[in-house]
């Protein structure tokens, strides 16, 4: 079973959950009321997010508060980092790569 942050944020519901608990830690029940789905489905999403270490849990009696793990979110950002140069600095050069290849063949 593949468990990485990229797969975790692929689902729109999970992205919404991440956004919710980024503001403040919440319990599964509190999260579930924001979605048109069952509490168990939300719990499944939280489990996946936990396995990817994108969220942290903290128990308080029978309630479990889930909150975002910003450090792990940074990993996705790190992957994007390698492209930042392309879309910022070398934007025009990249557009010419194809033309360059075609010219080399002549």
């Amino acid at each position: 079973m593949r468990r990485d942050p990229f797969q975790a944020i692929a689902d729109p519901t999970r992205r919404a959950i991440i956004l919710l608990i980024a503001v403040q830690a919440m319990t599964p029940n509190a999260i579930a009321v924001h979605f048109d789905t069952t509490r168990q489905a939300v719990s499944k999403h939280l489990r996946i997010l936990s396995e990817c270490r994108l969220v942290k849990q903290e128990r308080s009696g029978r309630e479990i508060y889930y909150q975002l793990n910003p450090t792990k979110m940074k990993e996705i950002d790190k992957w994007l980092e390698q492209f930042r140069k392309i879309w910022e600095d070398r934007f025009n050069q990249l557009d010419n790569v194809l033309a360059t290849i075609k010219n080399n063949k002549k």
Copy 2:
């Protein structure tokens, strides 16, 4: 069928393809030799990436060159942007959210 950049980068092979063609535009055959899979499977990935507008195509005779569309990559970055403040500025504050909630209940 959901087609968005988040789902597109969820697959590790597609992320590798993106990285490859970010350096220079390539044909499906040229891309496929880098992977332990068939040319057709790579073509399927390229189709998904195309549908998400993450890659651009340019035909040259019977060859089709695929290259990265940096603008669309930026959209993923835009979503991450909202969390950047959290993991940079408010890192310690966020860690205290749970404690705050628990204190409010007293």
